[in-house]
């Protein structure tokens, strides 16, 4: 299966799962107006005002993939202007990650995120800084192959298949039907246990960690007491994370945040991260 096919399948399954989920929430009038004002500000070149309004929307708990997308547009606009501020591209990357978390498969957001990450990498290369390193743990990668809801639907299909197989197996004496039912029940049981296990794991990861993005030029990795990690003989592999790096926020303790980055766990200053809103 080609990557494109695999991605298409993932998107299809995600949309299928989304279709099964409950009704979507509609934005209220105040949020709509604030969004329209923010867009208008951005169109007339009032970038800071637009950013303030998009951030105000987020602060009010308004979560929408298009609002996140436009927030990214506002940060990108400022990053291109003479009033660019450090972290603008990181915030843009965070907003685009949020769009994708809220609407998986948004091609424009994926494309824009690639461009923003590419620009960050280009600027870091110019400054001879470490490139953006995308890392994820094997466990997260396996569980993240499909959306949690898709895993749950697969587990439900496995349960149904197994149940029907068992019923038919009992109900019929015909040898061929009996054999078919036994096979179906076995496949269903395997699907039930594997997809059920993945559902449990995905739920656990969702409840114990939140996606976040680094929004400063360099987020220094710290130990639990807040002291910077020191590299000795190549260990740890990294002592800082580049702007735009995606991590998992595991825990907050005062001004410090414990993060998972690939197989590594460390602490950073919580203000250096932007937590991604998820569904």
């Amino acid at each position: 299966m080609t990557p494109t096919c695999r991605r298409a399948l993932a998107v299809f399954l995600a949309l299928f799962a989304l279709g099964l989920s409950a009704l979507a929430q509609a934005p209220d009038a105040d949020s709509q107006k604030l969004f329209a004002d923010a867009v208008a500000s951005l169109e007339r070149g009032a970038i800071d005002d637009a950013i303030d309004r998009f951030e105000s929307l987020a602060d009010q708990g308004f979560v929408h993939p298009d609002a996140s997308y436009d927030r990214a547009a506002a940060y990108v606009a400022r990053a291109r202007s003479v009033n660019a501020r450090p972290g603008d591209l990181g915030r843009a990357a965070a907003a685009l990650e949020e769009t994708l978390a809220l609407r998986p498969g948004d091609a424009d957001a994926e494309h824009a995120l690639d461009r923003v990450r590419g620009e960050i990498a280009r600027r870091r290369a110019r400054e001879r800084a470490e490139p953006v390193v995308a890392k994820t743990s094997l466990w997260r990668a396996v569980v993240g192959l499909l959306d949690e809801q898709v895993w749950a639907v697969l587990a439900a299909i496995g349960s149904t298949l197994s149940t029907l197989g068992l019923v038919i197996r009992r109900a019929t004496a015909a040898r061929r039907i009996h054999l078919g039912a036994t096979t179906a029940a076995s496949i269903g049981a395997v699907l039930l246990f594997s997809a059920g296990g993945m559902t449990l794991a995905a739920r656990h990861l969702r409840l114990t960690s939140r996606p976040a993005v680094v929004v400063v030029a360099d987020a220094r990795l710290l130990d639990e007491s807040g002291k910077p990690l020191i590299q000795k003989n190549g260990v740890p592999e990294h002592v800082s994370m580049a702007e735009g790096t995606s991590v998992w926020l595991m825990e907050r303790r005062g001004q410090l945040a414990r993060i998972e980055w690939g197989s590594m766990q460390a602490w950073v200053n919580a203000g250096q991260l932007r937590v991604i809103a998820t569904r």
Partner: protein, 628 residues
């Protein structure tokens, strides 16, 4: 020589008796003082010896004090002293030392302190001793001495005849003092610091005022060896940064009069939310009545304080509000010039005035073709009473590249007003700038970084919202259904099988030989009661044959009577029972075919058959006929 010295000592002793508080012998005088005649356990008091000699004589040195066991002694602290007196029309000048010991009793009782002594011309001379009554802690009745307000241990005014100790006018009136210094109980019998923060619940950026007061019970004091209270989570403005210029007040606390003054006052602005701590302030009390610990006098710490800091409410928060912008502000702005050519710049001066933590940034009205450069700022911020306020000027250079009448809009500052408990926005309108078309000589606006050009296109309307966050895996029923559906089918199948097996067994037991035999016996009894011999015999025969088949596996119906006897014998049935079975079956045969029996009536068929069946059943129970 010895007798002369003895006489001199006797003379000194006599002088002591005559004037117990002062001793003078020729060229020197010794004077002893105790700060209190009654003290509590743990309370400190002082003993002072002043040794003076005529000018020009050797200075007294090496003061020592005799102290009974159970006393903690600090000191002595030694100071030089000078005394000038007029006697007989001539000035007499005497010099010497004053040695002060600080004592603390550890248990109650009456004790003699002293005498203290000094070395003078190679000899040790002693002063007076003093009696002190030590009472348990808290049992003392210390009365303020209005004639010794500074705690120097001066004796009270001698009583005049006819005047009572306690005048009717009550306690002497103290000069007025600020109410903020009033406390009900002292935190320490000697000296203490009191820290007060108001308010203790604020939002991020809201001013709170920290005041620290010092109290001393032994008279005036100076601030020494101070360490400031820690306050990492706050921006601080000093309102009062040392106590030297602060007046000291006499403040009644309990039954005593204390010296008190404000030593610090700070305006603090929290920079983060949470339970924030203001650390302790340490201060040394330096003064004549305060024993020294090391070189810094009595040291005391104020209690740390906890301030609850929250964020202003998210509800109603205006766009662009920055956490920490708290106070009450007003904005004004001046713009010059009002007419320029495209590509030229104007100057905008915005003045922010008010009270609170004046922000460093304002929201400027950006628009296409108008470029705002970073402002330069000047300010004048200072305390007004206990409130921090003033002004800050922001000077912007704004370049306008668009020709025409350009409405600049307004500069704004959203802030939280803690007094009104609501958000507000300070505004300054900038007006319209007339911009003539460029003449072509102006520098071009720098091109934006184009690496990201068209990377992202604005979405003007909201599309489909994110799907609901409801997930199957968060529903309890989902997990029950997931597991219970196949498990239920499996368990139901097993149950059905079990039920089937049970039914089969029940049916089987119902159709067993013994059951059929019992049925046949019942039929025989019923037919016997009805008097039908043939049917009773038939049923009795059937019962016996079924019993034989069930117990011995012998199908006796097809056997001849003789053969049956042999067969039964071969299977180990007792001869007696075999004969009875053979006889009964024969009789039954007869009765079936003839309808009557010569020897047996219908009832006896049933009874004989029942006995036979019972005996046959015993053969089965005993594990086979051979063993029976």
């Amino acid at each position: 020589m010895t007798s002369r010295r003895l006489l001199a000592l006797l003379a000194v002793f006599a002088a002591l008796l005559a004037a117990p508080r002062a001793r003078a012998q020729g060229t020197y005088s010794l004077q002893s003082q105790i700060s209190s005649r009654e003290v509590e356990v743990g309370e400190t008091f002082t003993f002072r010896l002043a040794a003076l000699v005529d000018q020009g004589a050797a200075t007294p040195r090496s003061p020592t004090l005799k102290v009974p066991p159970g006393f903690v002694v600090h000191g002595p602290s030694v100071a030089t002293q000078q005394q000038i007196s007029l006697s007989g029309g001539q000035f007499t000048q005497r010099t010497g030392i004053s040695a002060t010991w600080t004592l603390e009793a550890s248990h109650p009782g009456r004790f003699t302190i002293g005498p203290a002594s000094v070395e003078l011309n190679g000899h040790r001379v002693t002063g007076d001793s003093a009696q002190v009554e030590v009472v348990p802690a808290g049992a003392g009745k210390r009365q303020p001495n209005p004639f010794d307000p500074f705690g120097f241990g001066l004796p009270p005014m001698p009583k005049l005849p006819g005047f009572d100790d306690t005048p009717d006018l009550g306690a002497p009136e103290l000069p007025p003092f600020p109410e903020e210094l009033r406390v009900q109980h002292p935190d320490d019998p000697l000296a203490f610091l009191r820290a007060v923060a108001k308010p203790t619940e604020v939002v991020v950026g809201q001013q709170l005022t920290l005041k620290i007061y010092a109290y001393g019970s032994r008279g005036p004091f100076r601030e020494t060896n101070t360490s400031e209270p820690s306050r990492e989570a706050f921006l601080a403005h000093n309102i009062l940064d040392n106590s030297y210029s602060e007046p000291m007040y006499r403040v009644p606390i309990g039954n005593d009069v204390w010296q008190a003054k404000k030593v610090r006052e700070l305006a603090l602005f929290p920079i983060q939310a949470g339970k924030l701590t203001i650390g302790s302030m340490r201060m040394g009390f330096d003064g004549r009545g305060y024993p020294s610990s090391g070189a810094h006098g009595v040291e005391r710490l104020s209690a740390p304080l906890t301030i609850t800091v929250t964020e202003p409410p998210a509800e109603g928060r205006p766009p662009g509000y920055k956490l920490g912008d708290v106070g009450r502000f007003a904005l004004s702005a001046s713009v010059a010039p009002r007419a320029i050519s495209a590509g030229e710049a104007i100057s905008i001066v915005a003045k922010l005035e008010g009270t609170g933590n004046l922000p460093f940034t304002l929201r400027v009205p950006q628009q296409s073709g108008v470029t705002w450069l970073e402002p330069t700022t000047v300010d004048e911020i200072e305390p007004h009473g206990s409130v921090i306020g003033g002004w800050r000027k922001f000077t912007y250079v704004v370049r306008i590249d668009r020709a025409g009448d350009v409405d600049l809009g307004e500069i704004t500052l959203p802030y939280w007003d803690p007094e009104r408990e609501s958000y507000d926005t300070a505004r300054a309108k900038l007006g319209v700038i007339k911009v003539k078309p460029a003449n072509g000589n102006e520098p071009k606006e720098p091109e934006p970084n184009d690496a990201l050009k068209d990377a992202i296109t604005l979405r003007k309307t909201l599309g489909a919202p994110a799907a609901s966050s409801a997930r199957l895996s968060d529903e309890r029923w989902f997990w029950w259904l997931l597991v219970l559906a196949p498990l239920g089918v499996t368990l139901t199948g097993q149950g059905v099988s079990l039920a089937r097996r049970l039914g089969h067994k029940v049916r089987e037991s119902k159709e067993s030989h013994s059951a059929l035999a019992a049925k046949a016996l019942a039929e025989a009894a019923r037919q016997a009661s009805a008097g039908d011999v043939a049917k009773a015999a038939s049923a009795a025969e059937r019962a016996v044959l079924l019993a034989l088949e069930g117990s011995l596996g012998l199908k006796a119906r097809g056997l001849l009577r003789d053969a049956l006897g042999t067969e039964l014998a071969d299977r180990g049935v007792k001869q007696e029972l075999a004969d009875e079975i053979t006889s009964l079956l024969g009789a039954c045969d007869d009765a079936r075919f003839t309808g009557a029996s010569e020897t047996t009536d219908a009832r006896s068929f049933a009874e004989r058959a029942e006995r036979a069946v019972r005996e046959i059943a015993k053969l089965k129970k005993n594990g086979g006929a051979n063993e029976s």
